[in-house]
């Protein structure tokens, strides 16, 4: 076999027995390219869909892809696939930073964590060697403290991931941190917690080579030029991200009446100009921070003074957090927002589902259905926001209720799930289906709950297509879901595709791995993965009834910029019908045998049999 960026090697870590063994990638897995493709195929093959996500039988697969560690720009991410304790679906979750490249320098395509450790454990991965260490010294510590400990103990050059107290306590929306980047969605932190893995440190001693270096270098050069040009453009989204971070677009979203505000009741927020990317850049010392090899450097490190007068640093907040801990909570105070973000970092929690849960709790508080001693549950209330976040992380008082996820929390308050902005139990990302119909369909049909990663957000919010139209959205959503799944096999940053044409990806893959692949085949990998995920979810008990929006989406938005905008129930169901048809699924949302044959995965039909 010729040279390839892929090493065809994963490490299986048996946590029960504290052993690790190399696992050569079998031939049929190679067709899934890497990243999300590897993770999905391995999980679907090895973990039955009905598995309890927090049981030792669940697995957590951490992977990289063919472009990881190379000079290809915007390829820093690594991918976690597991069964989510929040959504009970298959989950894929991503973080940027430097961990992905280090896994590749270790000569690995990924890790498979199996079982559960008898006591709290730190894993040290040095190339293909795995050692198990006690996590006693960092138990109960924040993600930043834990990672500092790893660097002190194992050397300053290790790259890390860790969970905080929320993961230890199996909070349903606990996330996994990697330095300041986060595997945010779906509760992967709780899965690591259930396995008693507090953190992982990785050190690789090797380098990365590609199959066809000259061709690859040319592709890198072309792509860098595209990205540099985009960064230099005033109104290019990637350019705006590169100047002030992902929060650059808040004014645009607000202006379109699509900024979810006060638990999605309003579509605009008068305080947006105090908490958007430009506001942070104006008000606070700001330094742009990049992930590995990225010329866009959208991470913005801010120095700010906390309400108690102490000085502090925060990389962020990111756009989605400006919504979930900002506008959606009627919080227009950038310091409060930063402190709220820091609590989520400290405990290791997804700012989205956590923020959405706080929004719901505040609404419940204002309508007299929920109370918590010592907290005045009102929108915009500093003590209530920070107090609820800490209580979720500690599983204390009503925080313990919220930590169980939306469905269980709503049950306890008498069935108030329809005001909980969630799909498949995952909190809404920062977008309003009533204003963006295609994004609404993408949220409803996402395999991991209300997810914005595979939605036509850019096209709808910029007006490139009619955001309020229903026509044509089903086809668009399917196309984006398949395409993004394909690029998540690499594992590309989501923003890379904003600038890079689809044809570039198979060229990159071929030059890196020597494996010839056409654009059509590349996109088919994405569709195949989408269907595998769907089959897993059906096997876990889901179907059309779960591809739904909360009732609030059928009630008019308030606020002058989008007053009255609403999702029409019949038209939504019409989009869903059309979407299933285009997918080759039956009207219950189950892939047909014919479709599975076409995708070359007929043997997986058994998963979808009830």
């Amino acid at each position: 076999m010729g040279l390839s960026s892929m090493r065809d090697l994963l490490i299986r870590v048996d946590l029960c027995n504290k052993t690790a063994s190399p696992w050569s990638v079998p031939e049929q897995l190679k067709g899934y390219l890497g990243g999300m493709g590897y993770g999905t195929k391995i999980l679907v093959d090895e973990v039955p869909p009905r598995t309890d996500p927090l049981a030792p039988e669940n697995k957590l697969i951490l992977t990289v892809g063919p472009l990881t560690g190379t000079m290809a720009p915007m390829q820093p991410q690594s991918c976690i696939v597991t069964k989510s304790p929040l959504t009970e679906t298959i989950l894929n979750s991503y973080a940027g930073g430097f961990l992905g490249a280090e896994i590749r320098f270790a000569g690995l395509d990924g890790l498979i964590l199996e079982g559960a450790a008898p006591e709290w454990t730190l894993l040290l991965i040095e190339d293909d060697r795995v050692s198990f260490h006690s996590a006693e010294a960092v138990l109960g510590r924040s993600t930043a403290e834990t990672e500092a400990y790893l660097k002190k103990t194992f050397g300053p050059d290790v790259r890390t991931l860790s969970i905080g107290r929320a993961g230890e306590k199996k909070v349903a929306m606990a996330s996994v941190f990697s330095e300041t980047r986060t595997f945010g969605r779906g509760g992967a932190g709780a899965v690591l917690g259930s396995k008693r893995v507090k953190a992982i440190a990785v050190r690789g001693s090797g380098g990365v080579e590609v199959a066809r270096p000259e061709e690859f270098a040319l592709l890198v050069r072309e792509n860098m030029e595209l990205l540099k040009a985009a960064c230099a453009e005033e109104y290019n989204l990637v350019g705006m991200f590169s100047r002030v971070g992902t929060g650059a677009g808040m004014g645009l979203v607000n202006g379109r009446g699509a900024l979810a505000t006060r638990n999605h009741i309003f579509g605009s927020f008068e305080g947006f100009g105090r908490i958007d990317g430009y506001a942070y850049a104006d008000k606070f010392y700001t330094r742009a921070i990049a992930c590995y090899g990225c010329p866009v450097h959208c991470g913005m490190l801010h120095k700010f003074t906390r309400a108690d007068g102490s000085s502090s640093w925060l990389r962020g907040p990111e756009y989605e957090t400006m919504y979930s801990l900002g506008s959606d909570l009627l919080n227009g105070d950038p310091v409060l927002l930063a402190e709220a973000n820091q609590i989520c970092e400290e405990y290791g929690m997804d700012t989205l589902t956590t923020g959405v849960s706080v929004a719901w709790a505040l609404e419940m508080g204002e309508s007299g259905k929920l109370e918590e001693p010592g907290l005045d549950l009102r929108f915009g209330d500093r003590a209530a926001i920070l107090g609820l976040l800490r209580k979720i992380g500690e599983r204390e008082g009503i925080g313990d209720l919220l930590a169980r996820g939306p469905k269980r929390a709503a049950e306890a308050v008498g069935g108030e799930l329809e005001r909980f902005m969630q799909i498949k139990n995952s909190g809404f990302a920062a977008w309003m289906p009533r204003r963006m119909k295609g994004t609404g369909l993408a949220f409803a049909t996402s395999n991991r709950g209300a997810c914005h990663k595979r939605a036509p957000i850019g096209a709808e919010i910029t007006g490139q297509i009619d955001m309020d139209a229903y026509e044509g959205k089903a086809a668009l959503v399917k196309e984006i879901q398949d395409r993004v799944n394909a690029i998540f096999t690499l594992v590309s940053c989501r923003f890379h595709e904003f600038v890079t044409p689809p044809e570039a990806y198979p060229r990159f893959v071929s030059a890196a791995t020597g494996r010839e692949i056409s654009l059509k085949e590349f996109l088919a990998v994405g569709e195949r993965i989408w269907n595998l995920e769907r089959l897993f979810n059906i096997g876990a008990g889901m179907g059309r009834a779960d591809d739904r929006l909360p009732e609030r989406c059928y009630q008019p938005i308030r606020g002058e910029l989008s007053e009255g905008a609403v999702m029409d129930r019949q038209k939504f169901e019409g989009m869903l019908d059309e979407y299933y048809r285009l997918r080759g699924w039956d009207q219950g949302g189950i892939p047909t045998q014919e479709k599975l044959e076409e995708l070359g995965i007929p043997e997986y039909a058994r998963l979808g049999v009830r």
Partner: protein
């Protein structure tokens, strides 16, 4: 024009493309820890870029420090280590005020440093923010 780099660490985003490009040029593979340039992380404060300053280095103590005269400055301003002469004594590593000379880890035990890619450094071409800018050379 004096040879070296204009370095503004305030502009460094710590993306490490310079290290990637350097290792790819020198070793034929991307391996940042073996690059002839380093970005010392001082999170959250700005990092320190460690690379030879050539004509901007006062006194160029590495040349002085070498007991076997393996380090020389050529007419263009390139400060180079002659591997055939280097004994691996580490004196230059200690002497460099920028922490920009390293020892090869594997067996051979030579000191290595930036050679400005002979006049057109690969690292500079990757730096999109202008933290690292070429001065002089070709």
């Amino acid at each position: 024009m004096p040879l070296g780099f204009d370095i503004d660490e305030n502009l460094c985003t710590e993306c490490l493309r310079c290290l990637g490009a350097c290792s790819l040029t020198k070793l034929g593979r991307v391996q940042p820890p073996l690059a002839r340039i380093a970005v010392k992380r001082q999170w959250p404060e700005i990092p320190e870029i460690q690379v030879c300053r050539f004509d901007d280095c006062p006194g160029r103590p590495c040349i002085e420090s070498c007991p076997v005269e393996a380090i020389t400055r050529d007419p263009q301003g390139l400060v180079l280590i002659d591997r055939d002469v280097c004994t691996g004594c580490r004196a230059c590593v200690e002497a460099c005020p920028y922490g920009a000379i390293w020892m090869e880890a594997s067996g051979s035990n030579y000191a290595y440093k930036c050679d400005f890619c002979g006049g057109s450094p690969a690292c500079v071409r990757e730096c999109v923010t202008g933290a690292l800018v070429q001065k002089g050379g070709s």
